[in-house]
């Protein structure tokens, strides 16, 4: 059977989650690999959440927030961006390919863009194959 990755996606409530809902109300089809977790703001995405996702078996993590300047909480998405750059470097040290983590801006009106992003992310991670962090960590359990 072809490998189908599981991707955890953190979406901010105001822009990205609404955008993902819009993809639904517009009946746009996309790959089913995404598992969404709603947070109020992308600024709430603690680096721990990302690491925990990989630890639990995620093959990819997709974080979406409001476009720069559009954050419902003014600047939470910038905080998220900083942590993202840090995480990108950090996960490499953990042996995780940095392409498994992606941050993108999705507004409430960008249902189409969200659907496209979900497909692209699924394709990227599918090509990377399974992430083995979980299995490797079992040694320490």
């Amino acid at each position: 059977m072809e490998f189908e990755p599981k991707i955890v996606s953190f979406l901010c409530n105001w822009c990205s989650y609404t955008g993902a809902d819009l993809a639904g109300t517009s009946r746009m089809k996309y790959a089913s690999n995404i598992r969404v977790i709603r947070v109020m703001c992308s600024g709430r995405v603690d680096p721990t959440f990302v690491l925990k996702s990989f630890r639990e078996g995620a093959d990819g993590v997709l974080i979406c927030g409001c476009h720069p300047g559009d954050c419902h909480y003014h600047e939470g998405n910038y905080k998220c961006l900083r942590r993202y750059h840090f995480l990108k470097k950090y996960i490499v040290q953990m042996g995780i390919n940095p392409d498994r983590l992606k941050l993108a801006w999705i507004s409430a009106s960008e249902g189409r863009e969200f659907a496209k992003l979900a497909d692209e992310m699924a394709e990227t991670v599918r090509n990377l194959g399974p992430c083995n962090v979980k299995d490797e960590m079992e040694i320490f359990d």
């Binding site: 599981k6 105001w14 809902d21 639904g24 969404v36 947070v39 659907a115």
Partner: protein
């Protein structure tokens, strides 16, 4: 510690979910998860019987946590929270899994969709284990309202509120009230004067003791939350500090610039004019060409910038009827002229409008149809001595022929666009735009004038193209919503604010640096951070910055989200 007893409800949403997700199998599997006492599937969870089922089960099975797996929480989270309250359970002991907008409507493989739905519900069940009861917080409603925009919508809303005895601050960017309707001569379909509609509104607003009008004024930023907003405005040389409990955004539209469509030669040929320019001529009672003479042939082109993927896909809703209205007015003003309607589709919906179309078609007006999928009509200057100024070249769909329509004046029925300031206004009041830059309503059918920001309402053409009756209806609907909140006097607000565990706080003040609302201060004596719950909006950014885990974003705590992640991947029930 109290035993956790979770009830899980999987909604079919008719066939919306059930068609793509095996809801019965999902419910059966979920029933085997730890702490799940009961798991059911049902046709419509949001219906009265659906909610009653939850209430009954909570009482009968002593449930203390509930998961509903159905549509988006943005649609029915509050509905179900209320059901919990009705059963005597704290409303926050609830979690929703979105298996409609984010599963059944976006996937077409039933097996994959079912697997995904199962994962999401597992996540929700795991999360709800860690939910905690939160107290309600209610705030007083300041009965004053800020109305942004002094067009027919803003004026109607302002009067509705002020007539009930409430203070209204009406802020208008232009130097006078009236908006676009002030530039209109007659209204369709009854051909009443627009001034008859508008002038009494302006008079009443200007003389109303409860309405304070600020002209030449814009709002840069609105602070606060429902019931307690404030804004500093500059009007003339004076600065004002306004305090208000609710906001109505009625900032209207911007007309489409037909210069964007090169084949119409707008501003290149002197007598190609917009519908707004014709309104002005009709209002002044002087329909003449640029050279001062009367046109003998007038053509009206429809859908200029509307219903065309290159410009705007949407229909602007008023242009067809306005064009018919023009034909009636031109027939009176220029009894001998040849009148042409060059349309793409005639959309005469609304009360009395189809009848108006029928009566206009008997007034010696030639109706010609162009193909919007093909090339748009082309307006060329006619050759000298042709006997007319311009030729409009297009494929006439009904006859199937390429024709040239002669014209001395061409009127372009320009589309309604979102207001050019729509983005700035959205930022100022914290609401969202849809793809066309009109404002997004909270729910297109069930809550069409509210926004996702409590206390901020939208009305009129800032929400989407519409005519005067629809705009006024929305204005009054928004006013009614606000009057209801004023009558209650208080409103319950989210209590999902941050909270500091003083025993764990190390006093590093990182949270203070990241808070966008300066809602966190430092207690020097105790050496800990303190959250001001009125200012905190619950974004949770502090929670992800705190190095010790002392500050928690209520209802989005670390353990709640981490357990949700675990749930997504848990294999627990397969082992059962």
């Amino acid at each position: 510690m109290e035993e956790k007893r979770i009830g899980v409800y999987v909604c079919w949403c008719g066939t919306n979910i059930a068609k793509m997700v095996d809801v019965e199998a999902v419910a059966a599997k979920i029933a085997k998860l730890p702490n799940v006492v009961i798991a059911k599937d049902y046709k419509y969870m949001c219906s009265d019987p659906g909610q009653e089922m939850i209430v009954k089960d909570i009482k009968e099975h002593k449930l203390n946590r509930v998961v509903v797996s159905a549509c988006s929480p943005r649609i029915h989270e509050l509905t179900f929270r209320k059901a919990l309250e009705n059963a005597g359970l704290n409303q926050y002991m609830f979690e929703m899994a979105n298996i409609r907008e984010q599963v059944s409507w976006v996937h077409d493989n039933r097996e994959e969709a079912t697997a995904k739905a199962l994962d999401l519900i597992k996540g929700a069940v795991n999360r709800v284990n860690f939910h905690e009861a939160l107290d309600k917080r209610s705030v007083d409603i300041n009965p004053a309202t800020l109305v942004m925009g002094g067009g027919v919508t803003g004026l109607s809303a302002a009067l509705e509120l002020a007539d009930a005895g409430n203070k209204v601050y009406l802020v208008e960017k232009a130097e006078k009230l009236g908006g676009h309707v002030a530039n209109i001569d007659l209204t369709f379909p009854l051909l009443n004067s627009a001034a008859e509609v508008l002038d009494p509104l302006i008079y009443k607003v200007n003389n109303h003791p409860e309405v304070e009008v600020f002209l030449n004024t814009t709002i840069d930023e609105v602070f606060g939350y429902i019931g307690n907003f404030e804004s500093k405005i500059k009007s003339g040389d004076k600065e004002y500090e306004l305090k208000f409990g609710n906001v109505i955004v009625a900032t209207g539209l911007t007309p489409f610039d037909p210069g964007k469509i090169s084949s119409y030669n707008y501003e290149k040929l002197p007598d190609v004019i917009t519908s707004l320019e014709l309104e002005k001529m009709l209002k002044e009672g002087n329909v003449v060409k640029k050279d001062g003479t009367e046109p003998k042939k007038v053509a009206i082109i429809h859908c200029v910038g509307s219903r065309n993927a290159d410009y705007h896909e949407y229909c602007s809703r008023v242009c067809c009827l306005s064009a018919l209205k023009f034909s009636n007015q031109l027939r009176s003003a220029l009894p001998e002229a040849n009148l042409f309607q060059i349309y793409a589709d005639m959309r005469a919906f609304g009360k009395g409008c189809e009848e108006f179309y029928a009566s206009t078609s008997k007034k010696d007006v030639m109706f010609l149809m162009y193909d919007q999928q093909g090339d748009l009509p082309k307006i060329n200057k006619a050759e000298n001595g042709a006997g007319y100024e311009m030729g409009i070249e297009f494929y006439e769909k009904l006859s199937g022929e390429d024709i040239i329509v002669p014209a001395d004046m061409v009127v372009l029925m320009v589309a309604m666009e979102a207001h050019e300031d729509a983005k700035e206004v959205a930022h100022a009041v914290g609401i969202s735009l849809c793809g066309n830059e009109f404002y997004i309503e909270r729910h297109p059918k069930l809550d069409p004038v509210a926004t996702t920001t409590d206390g901020v309402y939208i009305a009129g053409t800032c929400q989407g193209p519409k005519d005067i009756p629809d705009s006024v209806s929305q204005a009054k609907a928004a006013a009614a919503r606000i009057l209801a909140s004023i009558a209650r006097g208080t409103v319950e607000v989210e209590v999902t604010t941050a909270v500091v565990n003083e025993d764990v706080c190390c006093g590093c003040q990182t949270c203070i640096k990241v808070c966008p609302y300066t809602a966190i201060s430092f207690d020097e004596e105790k050496n800990v951070s303190v959250v001001n719950e009125i200012l905190c909006k619950g974004c949770g950014t502090c929670g992800s910055a705190c190095p010790t885990g002392a500050i928690r974003a209520r209802h989005f705590t670390d353990e709640q989200i981490l357990s949700q992640i675990e749930g997504l991947f848990s294999k627990e029930m397969q082992e059962v």
